[in-house]
């Protein structure tokens, strides 16, 4: 049980700055997900928390104790690696007990603890096997068990599910959520998979280019992205973003108009709307976006409709199982003004109508 606080954490490799001014506080027992594209600095941040990378500047504390110079072994943390990092020359039992033995734990206690953890994650019958004799999912569970067995203050996960196949990933995801509920431990989880972030995290910290782009509860971040980066990264398909100009009581999208109070006329904004928030309408005068249907992607439960509305990218609409659209036909789309989001075209930062920017 621990509070992890990162205060203006920076990491540089020579002139290259990998992480800049990261401020995150992970509450006791919270499941925090660091989410972002490859190279955004999320794994480096996690490795700094683990003590595997030095901190260039800033302060890392666990339970108010500064950890900057404390070696990894003294931080009372456990980490699950993407590659599992199981010791290939040791049996599952020895892999699980390796960390406890180092801490001069009594042999009987090590055995009892290893047996308990193995039973809790279904590894009892594999205790005498070596990693090469296990499947990917079993190896993943050994890696998880190795972290649990030490009962650490903080659990760190570095993309632990990315080597699993799709079905196993779903079940292991649920297992991790159950584990978090059972242990009530502080967990920090790095992933580039937004489904994992949305389904597992109490809060999500989205990182971009070495900086924190937004922190919040998954649905809050999804519904109210703080920037065009977050709007474009989160969601599959992502939020539709297009240039627009404000007029008296609304915005002009180029192919339609959205009535929306709060904007002074003549201002350029980036208009954003989620694919599922657009609906087709027969009334062209009411349409926010109009355009030609250029392709349909039937996904089974839904159909993605790609619409050429004159912008650089097509507008994507999430339609029903059987889409009421045909290729090369014109479609008129409307939306609830409350679901529309606006961003500054230069900085990409979210703006709220009526609030002076």
């Amino acid at each position: 049980m621990a509070v992890v606080a990162l205060d203006n954490i920076c990491k540089s490799y020579g002139a290259y700055s990998a992480v800049r001014d990261v401020n995150i506080t992970v509450a006791d027992g919270e499941f925090m997900v660091l989410l972002g594209p490859s190279g955004c600095g999320k794994s480096t941040t996690l490795r700094m928390i683990a003590g595997l990378e030095s901190i260039t500047s800033g302060t890392l504390s666990i339970d108010d104790a500064c950890m900057n110079g404390v070696p990894a072994k003294n931080r009372d943390i456990a980490m699950v690696f993407q590659s599992y990092a199981l010791y290939p020359h040791m049996t599952v039992r020895n892999n699980l007990g390796f960390g406890l033995k180092r801490r001069q734990t009594d042999r009987a206690v090590v055995k009892r603890r290893v047996d308990e953890v193995a039973a809790s994650i279904g590894l009892t019958e594999y205790l005498d096997r070596k990693p090469h004799a296990l499947s990917g999912g079993q190896r993943q569970r050994v890696a998880l068990g190795r972290a649990i067995v030490r009962d650490p203050k903080v659990f760190l996960f570095d993309e632990p599910l990315s080597n699993l196949d799709a079905a196993l990933r779903v079940s292991t995801r649920a297992e991790l959520v159950r584990l978090h509920r059972d242990l009530s431990a502080t967990m920090i989880y790095v992933t580039h998979d937004q489904v994992e972030a949305m389904t597992m995290g109490d809060r999500v910290c989205i990182m971009s280019d070495g900086e924190v782009a937004q922190i919040g509860r998954p649905m809050d971040v999804y519904l109210n992205p703080a920037s065009t980066f977050v709007a474009g990264f989160l969601g599959n398909p992502p939020m539709n973003l297009m240039p627009a100009t404000t007029d008296e009581g609304g915005i002009q999208t180029g192919s339609g108009r959205l009535a929306h109070a709060g904007f002074a006329p003549g201002r350029k904004v980036t208009f954003g709307i989620r694919p599922e928030d657009l609906t087709s309408t027969d009334d062209a005068a009411q349409s926010v976006i109009s355009g030609r249907v250029i392709s349909l992607e039937p996904l089974g439960a839904e159909t993605l409709i790609h619409v050429d509305a004159g912008g650089d990218k097509p507008v994507i609409v999430r339609g029903g199982r059987i889409a009421a659209a045909e290729i090369d036909h014109t479609i008129h789309l409307s939306c609830d003004p409350a679901l529309a989001r606006f961003f500054d075209p230069q900085s990409g930062v979210a703006i709220q109508p009526g609030v002076s920017q």
Partner: protein, 278 residues
């Protein structure tokens, strides 16, 4: 009924023929020496390629006790075992550092170590002789061990370094988080995981040093400090060559190497790293 060989059968037959010829070519001299080791020089002179009519096992006892082979064997075992042990441990540590750590002048140090192997031993042996005399290491088993360690160290580091570099970094990070020091990580992770490479270097160094002749003949002249390859010289005189005893001496020298190869090569190399990472 006429039977014909299929193309794959023909290929297999050709392959078996090639293997048989190659085996005869490489094992022939060994078998010949083995046969001669059990025959007397007189018998060999009469019919060099004949099979032994009587197996003269007493020749081994004679070489061992009367021709000082027990001393040569003990010297070889002591010198080679010491040199290989030092090479494995020190070379392993050096390779671990080269593979895992970034430090200043790493490239330069690596280059310096490797630059020593470009000189043929004949070039350096005179200088080495002088140095050994200066430091009182001439005619000393310790001196020969030091020379053996020095000449084999670059290759040992090279083999082990390339293997250590392939061990996933996550394994070391996991061990660090598990609470192990760098020293403990070397002994408990690097060395066991690298056992295939370690066994390769042990086999390679043992065979090369067991058979080493040039440095031994230059740096050791006292009979009680000679190694086995020098012991064979004892039967080579200006007037007489005791071919039968040379063969017996060679067999005493060869058999340990063959045994080491048989025991080490198969068992240690398989399956150690599979499953470490996905």
């Amino acid at each position: 009924m006429q039977r014909t060989l299929s193309p794959s059968g023909l290929r297999m037959a050709a392959l078996l023929m090639f293997i048989a010829i190659y085996t005869a070519y490489s094992a022939g001299p060994f078998v010949w020496v083995a046969m001669m080791s059990l025959r007397t020089t007189t018998e060999i002179s009469a019919a060099p390629y004949a099979l032994p009519e009587t197996l003269h096992f007493w020749k081994f006892a004679s070489a061992w006790t009367e021709s000082n082979y027990d001393t040569y064997f003990f010297n070889s075992v002591t010198i080679v075992f010491s040199a290989v042990a030092i090479l494995t441990i020190v070379g392993g540590m050096a390779a671990h550092c080269f593979a895992r750590y970034r430090f200043r002048f790493k490239g330069l140090i690596y280059l310096l170590i490797f630059s020593t192997i470009i000189f043929p031993p004949q070039v350096t042996v005179i200088g080495l002789f002088q140095i050994m005399v200066e430091y009182g290491l001439y005619n000393s088993r310790v001196g020969l061990v030091m020379v053996y360690v020095a000449i084999q160290m670059p290759v040992t580091i090279y083999i082990l370094e390339s293997f250590f570099a392939r061990i996933p970094k996550d394994l070391f990070d996991a061990a660090r988080i598990d609470g192990y020091s760098e020293w403990a990580i070397f002994w408990r992770i690097s060395l066991p995981v690298a056992l295939p490479a370690i066994s390769t270097t042990i086999i390679l160094n043992t065979i090369l040093l067991w058979n080493e002749f040039l440095y031994a003949v230059v740096l050791i002249t006292e009979d009680d400090k000679r190694t086995l390859p020098l012991g064979v010289l004892r039967f080579l005189g200006d007037q007489l060559e005791d071919v039968g005893m040379i063969a017996t001496g060679l067999m005493i020298a060869i058999v340990p190497v063959v045994l080491i190869y048989v025991f080490f090569s198969e068992r240690l190399i398989q399956g150690m790293t599979a499953g470490a990472v996905k």
